[in-house]
């Protein structure tokens, strides 16, 4: 009996079975904890693409104070960031830079398209230098409409994103 157990193949099987059971048991609570951590520490990149940055500044201002939701603009490296708020128009000159910034960020990463220009191109439907929305270069999680959106709308958008993160499955 004991000999059978000590037999390496059987032992490995047992350990792996226990491991599977443990992973299954801990998956939900651990995922919940990890997601909870992600929800309350969204660090946006400091990349301003256009004029919506004014209202993004207002979101961090004392009146709206986005730090209540854990959104603290990181002045450090891109490697620490997990959220990119595309603040308005993306021109043809800015588009490669936006993609470069997105590629440098570690997984998991989320994108909020802020303003009409980032969603569909907005006013610049016939401009020669503006992308018709950022869907073609980065995947978007939440759309925040307005030109520029009110700070409340952006906060509502980030709350939607937090809801999305809570429900997502941890890999």
């Amino acid at each position: 009996m004991i000999k059978d157990l000590v037999n390496p193949t059987n032992f490995n099987l047992l350990v792996s079975n226990i491991g599977d059971v443990l992973v299954k048991a801990l998956d939900a609570p651990l995922g919940y904890v990890i997601n909870w951590g992600r929800v309350w520490s969204l660090w946006p990149v400091h990349l301003e693409t256009a004029c919506c940055s004014v209202e993004f500044g207002a979101v961090s201002s004392p009146r709206y104070d986005a730090e209540r939701f854990g959104i603290l603009e990181a002045f450090g490296s891109l490697r620490q960031c997990d959220l990119i708020v595309v603040q308005g128009t993306v021109t043809r000159k800015m588009a490669p830079r936006l993609r470069m910034v997105y590629d440098q960020m570690p997984e998991p990463k989320y994108v909020i398209a802020m303003g009409a220009c980032a969603i569909t191109g907005g006013l610049y439907l016939d401009s020669y230098n503006v992308l018709p929305g950022i869907d073609s270069i980065v995947p978007v999680d939440v759309y925040v409409p307005g030109c520029p959106p009110r700070p409340e709308t952006l906060i509502q958008g980030t709350m939607l994103l937090q809801e999305k993160i809570k429900r997502s499955k941890v890999k």
Binding site: T91, R92, K93, L125, D126, S127, Y128, N129
Partner: protein, 176 residues
Amino acid sequence: MEKTNTENNQTNLIEVKEEKSNLLSSSLINSITTNFGDQVKLVYKKENRSKIMVSPENLVETALYLRNNHGFDHAESASGTDYPADNQIEINYHLGSYSNTDYYPYILVLSTRVDRTDPKSNSLINIFPSVEYHERETYEMLGVFFLGHPRNERFILPEDWADMPPLRKDFRIKGR
């Protein structure tokens, strides 16, 4: 009683101001026309604004005269307008003065027309250093080559821009 007095004063002041600006602009235009004769054509004269048209050869000479004798020391903007019907591009310099207090409200538009197929014009960068970026923008947006400008190159448009200058009238934007 007092009120009417002040009102009168105000209207008088405004009249005086208008007279002054009229005098100023007519003396300016007179001195230019006496100096250059037929080379300079007056396009319009409004309150505090006037526009003169010169041929491309006389552009530098006129600008130099305006700077040295009337104190026009900077250009608010240099821009171009495309006229495909005349096959010409008009280049406008909006000249202003910070050193001559009389000319503070005054804007003199110095303009010239160049051929549209091969637009070349003398740069005013040595006379008004403030036109440097404006001329570079005009080169980019309308394709006017400024002779004597050190950097006739890409400025605002994307690095890989390969189309024609966008502010030309025959540059079509999508859907229009």
